[in-house]
Symmetry: C2
């Protein structure tokens, strides 16, 4: 095991110390066997880069992916689910500037044509091309199609083995910065990029993540590791409770390191990259003034801990109170009470930033002894009925959130 | 059947035409056999009235009530659930200025002492006194107890048969106006008062409603009618998705009219009063700039229609878009997709203020043809899979909402 630190500290010390300070090797091109590009195809009125391409040059072409659980799924999600079904993919084409969701049969044809164009440009089959789109739902007309196809040509010509940062930039929508992470372990590497602000994105349609590795693993091994990693990372970022139609996390293995790591080692590295990217998503959530970690302990099951954390994370009253630096623990308890989780409302402890403000369902330390001015906010909820725990990452509800999301499509 | 119109139009024309323009007879004292008072006991730092008392002088003492389904329940809720268990109550004591929730054993004793004080003042048993509290969770110390008990004495001395408006004023917290409604039918009357902004209150701990009638009905009849009425009125106001710990709706019958109406007639009158009060709660929701009716049709069950409407009503992205007068139907579809309701995402129609912006899951009329500037906003969702419908009332997500709720307890 080697290396340490990245731009954003991960939420878990046990994995954070894996993160690489990898210099020139960044994001999806840190692992060997991958090329990437990010280009400007004119989809964004801002004129910023808007089409990214990530290519796996092998020797392996194993892939795994997870998609949004929203039953309203964008055309690229419907397409890509089929693509990864056989465990094989060679490229991921991503565009910002339009989600291509609820755009009718024309929209699905656009996704299909996009994959065919990538296949033609790279000399591979369209059925091995994952497609991801992000931006406004309902955007996917002829102009959009023309732009994406123009982007495919430009991106295929621009592919390099150092193109990770360009790709990470091209998938941004309201992100203020690109998000990348790398872990290198004993000769093999896991790298990734992300955009958005959570599986439950605050301001746009999507969280998109592409992760690459040169470790040699089968698609089944990738699939198991990816599901285990996303379950405890991206699935626990709940910035605003709004589930997207386009969320996609893709993991590709090139096998170019020639090394097959122990399953546990790969799981650890992959989880570290996912946790780091998840934390970067939280820190860049639209309009947020606080990054809130809601740690639930003493639950009878991990599911209960997640349920309680998510309920608090979705409570607008609690979130607005944190924005106002108000340690309003009553709103925490009211949110817990709406769940089916096992607990006794009059035995719960709540601490905020280290001060226990509620003990056994009654006031404890005075609320004015809590300092909520730091951006990093820690809420500890002890249900006191079992040994299980989980942490949900969320953000506060701010004027900027309302502003950005009342004006985004206007 | 007689009379028409009140301060606030109800959401349903079929019941609105029952509402009385009753002149001097208002709210909980419109029905014969009731006295009420609202007094200033010093619980509110503003010096505004904060304790209300409603007394049923009979001859009947039948009562029914529904309470919050939040598992974290305030002491007054725990107490009052016991009080109404035998179908008998003679008085309701309500305070603003503190929710007496999560205030430990002392808090429960305060509720008990409050009921005993009312019983002593009126010459009735404490076990026939419903107690309701509203305000901040965690407030319920000795000062609070002293204030409430002082209020009991003052209120008992101030009881009159025209005290309804005073009582309606004393239960206000961040409400900007008192909320009352009356229906008179063939010699019997249903009247009521309310505070808060929904079963899922936007800015404080509670929705409280007291309804009185001089119709002669048993407690079982009251209970059935009340559950049927609240299910389609208060339960469908979902202003901000935050479920309270103190919500209480109490219905008392004095029987003083000497008339026992047909069950259907009473149900209709009671539902009209509840719908009118629910609409007034929505119209006075904290910080709201739009009153949004989300009408879901074409569902395979009423439950599905409610589920879909509630999911849209709780979607912050949709609510912020309405605040920005942005008919962002993609956010409506994304919210529908998070439910378990039966539907085909590519067969849904969505109209906003009469303009169909989405047909069969694809763009229809241009969004800029929708005028969202009126405060009253209508979203029509046709799931197209069945004959059932339901309407959820909600509000938009505004800067004022964030402001009021980030500063409420500071």
């Amino acid at each position: 095991m080697t290396d340490s630190t990245s731009d954003g500290p991960g939420p878990d010390d046990a994995t954070t110390n894996l993160l690489s300070d990898s210099g020139a090797l960044q994001g999806v091109t840190a692992a060997r066997g991958f090329r990437a590009a990010g280009v400007t195809a004119g989809l964004k009125t801002s004129g910023r880069p808007d089409v990214a391409l990530v290519v796996n040059d092998g020797p392996s072409d194993a892939v795994a992916a997870v998609f949004t659980s929203n039953r309203a799924q964008a055309h690229p999600v419907i397409w890509s689910r089929q693509v990864v079904g056989d465990g094989v993919a060679r490229a991921v084409l991503l565009n910002s500037g339009g989600a291509n969701c609820f755009t009718g049969a024309f929209g699905f044809q656009t996704t299909h044509l996009t994959a065919e164009a990538v296949g033609d440009a790279l000399g591979i089959g369209a059925g091995d091309v994952v497609v991801c789109s992000t931006g406004l739902i309902g955007v996917g007309d002829q102009t959009f199609r023309d732009g994406v196809l123009r982007g495919v040509t430009l991106a295929a010509d621009a592919l390099t083995d150092g193109g990770g940062p360009d790709a990470a930039t091209a998938i941004m929508t309201t992100d203020t910065k690109p998000k990348q992470s790398v872990v290198t372990v004993d000769g093999w590497t896991v790298g990734g990029m992300a955009k958005g602000a959570g599986m439950l994105a605050p301001g746009l349609a999507t969280m998109l993540v592409v992760i690459t590795t040169d470790a040699a693993l089968t698609s089944d091994e990738l699939d198991q590791a990816l599901r285990a990693a996303t379950r405890v990372t991206f699935d626990r970022v709940d910035s605003d409770g709004c589930m997207s139609t386009n969320d996609t996390v893709v993991l590709m293995s090139s096998g170019a390191s020639g090394t097959t790591p122990e399953v546990g080692d790969f799981q650890e590295a992959l989880t570290a990259v996912c946790a780091d990217l998840a934390r970067q998503l939280q820190q860049d959530a639209e309009g947020a003034a606080h990054d809130i970690a809601i740690e639930v302990i003493g639950a009878v099951s991990e599911d209960d801990a997640v349920t309680v954390g998510r309920s608090v994370a979705r409570n607008n009253l609690f979130k607005a109170a944190v924005f106002g630096n108000d340690p309003n623990w009553g709103r925490v308890l009211a949110a817990i009470g709406t769940t089916e989780a096992e607990f006794d409302p009059y035995a719960v402890d709540v601490s905020m930033n280290g001060i226990r403000v509620c003990h056994a369902g009654a006031p404890d330390q005075p609320s004015d002894s809590v300092d909520l001015t730091p951006r990093d906010t820690h809420v500890l909820i002890d249900l006191g009925v079992g040994p299980y725990a989980a942490t949900i990452l969320t953000n506060d509800l701010t004027h900027d959130y309302v502003h950005e999301n009342s004006a985004y499509s206007s």
